[in-house]
Amino acid sequence: MNSGIDLQGSFIQTLTEFGLPQDVARALWIPLPMVLVVIGAVVGVLVTVWLERKVSAAAQQRIGPEFAGPLGVLQPVADGLKLVFKEDVTPNKSDPWLFTLGPILVVIPVILSYLIVPFGQNLLITDLNVGIFLWIALSSIAPIGLLMSGYSSNNKYSLLGGLRAAAQSISYEIPLALAVLAVVMMSNSLSTIDIVEQQSGYGILGWNIWRQPVGFLIFWIAALAECERLPFDLPEAEEELVAGYQTEYSGMRFALFYVGSYINLVLSALIVAILYLGGWEFPIPLDQLAGWLGVSETTPWLQMLTASLGIIMTILKAYVLVFLAVLLRWTLPRVRIDQLLNLGWKFLLPVALVNLLLTAGLKLVFPVAFGG
């Protein structure tokens, strides 16, 4: 296994060659990937919004956005700018502090979750040893923000939407965590890097989706429910609750909810790609291919190639899943709240428990195939 390129090392080395002390160079490095990731997340939202509008239009035999830029690619930018310049209405009867804090609390944890998303061997902000567990912990903060904004609006639709959002996310969090648990068991580690490396070596055949097909389905359903995507968008069901907890929101605060939900969708797709679809791994094992062609693993251009292919593969896999989520939106009708809770508690939870125990049992019987 080659170690990939070490951007941090070379960055610090370059700066120290210019005469900067080691510590200063290190301090200069720290915010760099973070800002890059935040910008990447925002661009990802713009791309996703455009994709969603175009694919939705195609599903309904419309054209979709077409005037702002070629193929309407600048439409999401225009939408965003419009929201910045919009008047921001705070209802008289609301609680202004909680009303502002709600959307902020929704956005911060989803951005923060990008901390553990790896785009390559060394291409992540930090390889925390709690890794994926941090994401599960952070994802349970968002419902508090939703509940807060639902309650503080002092509007009946908002309150009901907020309560539904909270009930929905707590119901699907447990199957989600149990599905992750089975993957963690196979890689013997919570770190996202270790989880991807455990799937490497055999190309597409080594990916976790073959060993965890049930876990993959559970995770995907639960992730859609956590993102409040159709068919699970009950908290903001237009026909019943106007816009749920967002009813009283306008301007930038509404934009925060909007951005938060799309970042969450992209993030969930990235996590699915990491947990089940081999993260940055190429469908064909590149290392072995290079070995057959007689190219050394440490050749600089090969390392460059695998690193950039890794980033492209991660994003490509995530966007295939986003595309799937958009198609699901126009394929499946919305479920009722009792159906939603039944699916979560009476189907996904028992299945996830069985899946976990089955993984543990198979790991005892076939230790080699299930990560030693």
């Binding site: 935040v38 910045v84 902000i125 930090t126 790991k363």
Partner: protein, 120 residues
């Protein structure tokens, strides 16, 4: 062993992530127009005069789900160290976890039969 290496990045990223919503709210505060009278600030209720407020006592049907959630969420957290260390623990740990999960499944079946998971 308790070590926190890597968490300085977490703190730094927390600052950067928090600055995103705060800066965008400040930017919008500077740029947006300040028009609109008190009429606009009334609560939306399909164009009608709002009947009563939303801060009233009523039956939250999700509260039983919240109770069951606490039980299973703690269970999941307990299972995480078990799953990470499973390859070193072997068969005995598997049987122990089986007993642990079986007790909780009994609790789930009880809650199910008692109707705690019914939305009505």
């Amino acid at each position: 062993m308790f070590h926190l290496s890597g968490y300085e990045y977490f703190l730094g990223f927390l600052l950067i992530a928090s600055s995103v919503p705060i800066l965008s709210l400040i930017a919008s505060k500077i740029l947006r127009p300040r028009t609109g009278g008190p009429e606009r600030r009334t609560t939306y209720e399909c164009g009608m005069e709002p009947i009563g407020g939303a801060w009233i006592q009523f039956n939250i049907r999700y509260y039983m789900f919240a109770l069951v959630f606490v039980v299973f969420d703690v269970e999941t957290v307990f299972l995480y160290p078990w799953a990470v260390a499973f390859s070193q623990l072997g068969l005995l740990a598997f049987i122990e976890a089986l007993i642990f999960i079986a007790i909780l499944v009994v609790a789930l079946v009880y809650a199910w039969r008692k109707g705690a998971l019914e939305w009505s």
